[in-house]
Amino acid sequence: MQADTIITPSTLCVKDLPWQIAWDKDKCTLCGRCAAACPMLALELAVYRKRVIQPPIGLEKTPENTFESFYGVRQKTNPDNACVGCGMCNLVCPNDAIMPMHSDEADKLRFHNNKGGVPRRRGGRRNDPEGVLDRIKFTRISMLTDPALDAGRHDFQLSTLLGRVLPPEENLKLQRENGWIPPVREIYPLIIGGMSFGALSPTMWEGLQMGVTYLNEEVGMPVVISTGEGGCPPRLLRSRFLKYVILQIASGYFGWDEIIHALPEMKVDPCAVEIKYGQGAKPGDGGLLMWHKVNKLIAAIRGVPQGVSLPSPPTHQTKYSIEEAVAKMIQSMSMAWGFRVPVYPKISATSTSGAVLNNLARNSIAAGLAIDGEDGGTGAAYNVSMDHMGHPIASNIRDCYLNLVKIGKQNELPLFAGGGVGKRGNLAANAAALIMLGASGVQTGKYVMQAAAGCLGSETDRCNICNIGRCPKGITSQDPRLYRRLDPEQVAQRLVDMYLSFDTELKKIVAPLGRSTSLPIGMSDALGINDYNIAQRLSIDYVV
């Protein structure tokens, strides 16, 4: 029999997709909410035809067929509308009649989502649930030789330093001589990593800023947040809340016109300035804000026309060497705020991190180095970059720390580690492991999205449509119909909850190690792992 549909190489059936929608006709009341909520428009209303047999009463007449039609939903198989497994349909369904199910085999969609010769781009995360951080254990537990502390009752000093710390001799000399001492901030060691206004929806951004302010002013936790590329809303720039914000300047310089203009009107200095040279999720690649998300507001803040894609170049175009990048850029940024604001670069973890570090160590005003590992989050990037480029953070941060130890500058140039911190939900354990490997603090973005805003993404390619502005939760969308789904007050509250529980967990880790007076940066004697090679590589204990 001849098929009556046209079958082409890219015709896919539902089975070929990564996610199949299980729809239960009997439970469905056809309210249509699932189709309305689906960010991918993966569902279409469908008319089904069904044969019904009608057995008559008595023996005379033979049973008959009738055909009934009924309505329902059907999953589209066009790659553009493939279900991403977000589960919004299930969330909104009053009858539990619909749910995405992950395919039991590798999907065939992956061969087809390069329509028009453009490879797949997405937002979200590196799709690999494994990682070294989760395997690290804290093995040096105080018991009898030195009494363990009580996480609930002891006083803990868990702050960290952001800024160039001079060697004691030099610091004391400069104090005596009234010389210039680089600015140093005492901050909470868990920083909210750069997620730009542009990548995030206005409600998400507002919620995070409110939460950060509450944490600082009501809870007394000096939490700071990086803006990511794309500037900062004008009112925030002129408010006293700017001191909780790290302004990021990336290679596209988006939003910096606005920032520079606001300088004379700033009431307070920002916490710091982060010069972004790279992002762990797509090392060596620039930022990318796809046109879907460049609405009027974003366009205004970034100073660009509406509706155009905004790629940032992979490097700062005016810099042709590391000396320039490090020295000039840090110097000019410092100068803009009268040398009162710490300025530090953020790079992707790479096997060349050490070279960057060495240069920074020699630059007397570089305020630190943020290193983002391969698991770092992103708003938008090519799939191939996210899944296959990059360097894991654990060994990179360890190498850099030990490098500093070798030259005796481990107290001077703080290292901040990012990329996959808490990707399996173990935020405090991952952060503590990185700190004991040598980080002064950690940055996290994805965990915040998940915990504070309910991001549905996972490390097995669920959702990940942050790039096209259709975020089902309204976290990474500039479409008011979507971002109104997110209540900023609730985001703020969740953020506070997240920080408070992180704090408790961190204390539950450091107290049994007998540490309460200072953050256990570099306390590698507390770490063990059940893989000999990893243990060797990280210079920690091998335990089985």
């Binding site: 140093v184 481990q410 190690l513 306390m523």
Partner: protein
Amino acid sequence: MCRLFAMTSDEPFSPLVAAKALDVMREGHDGSGVGLFLSDLSGPFEDLKDAPVLSGIFTSKGLKKLDVHMMELGFTTKYKVTIKAPKPAPPGVPQRDVYLIRAYEYPDEWHAYSAERRAFELMKVRLDLRGMGEADGDMIVFSFWPDAIMIKEIGDPLTVVQHLGLDRKELMARVIMAQGRQNTNYAINLYACHPFFIQGICTMTNGENTAFVPIKEYLSSRGFPGYMGYNSDSEVFAHILHYSTYQLGLPLEAYKHVITPLSDDEMGDHPNKAFLKQLRQTCRRLIIDGPNCVIGCLPNKSLFMVQDRKKLRPGIVGGRPGCYAFSSEECGLDAVIPDRDKSLDFQPMHLDTAIVSSDRQEVHICRQTQSLPQALCA
């Protein structure tokens, strides 16, 4: 937990006094070792105050090696106390050849050295000897410094002191620090026994320093040859004190601000707030995390006691003008100065540094919330 005892007295006293104090605190240490530091020496060493004194343990071969080396350097012996270890050694005490305490005359060219250079060279000689000894296991060198004697040995403190006959006129001193060791490592390395000494600075500690690894890494990276060894996590206390006095020029009152800085809240309107904040940031790596009670002696012979922030270890200071003692247990104090006014005993808490200077007239309590000496914060 090791037991600690230190005393400073106008009247020279014998190491046996300290050993007896440790003995009453016996239930606190397992007798696996003893360390003694004697200073402000009397007897024959009284007149040799400026001559560097070498203390250590040697095999006969080691002794010959030492003589050749010191001669090559141009040192000549001025006075010596050699203790030939009697045989057999009591149970638990190893049999050694010679315990040597020897005062030297400086080589001629050293007389032209500045005090600083001389201090550095003395330390270098000690480190070189230690290195030579470690290669062949025939020399253990504890100190090489004027007016300082150190003896360390494995075994029960009182037994060791009696066995070696340390209760002798030549070894009377006005400042003695002693530690009875509680061994928490299996192999006992004598270099791991307290007190720890570097250029006239000496400290001993009980408890465990949980921030040891980062502090050790920091000190080792200072580029100062004396910051080495670290057979014990407590050795860093001596080096931090050395670092803050010698390298940073800070007074003893600031030591506690280095190892256990005040929090923002506690700083409140401290008159030296700006200075202390900078100090906390710049010396962050030297923050100790206890639980520790530290007793120490400075080159000017003042003794002090500090606690970490948690104040989980006991420690008490008491005495009378002319004689004060620092002890990890009150019974140690009672055994040696029973006739003191006990109501004046002081147990330093997490903000205090208790100091008895070389005039031995009072226990000076310095709280971290008080202002620091003026000169510092100019």
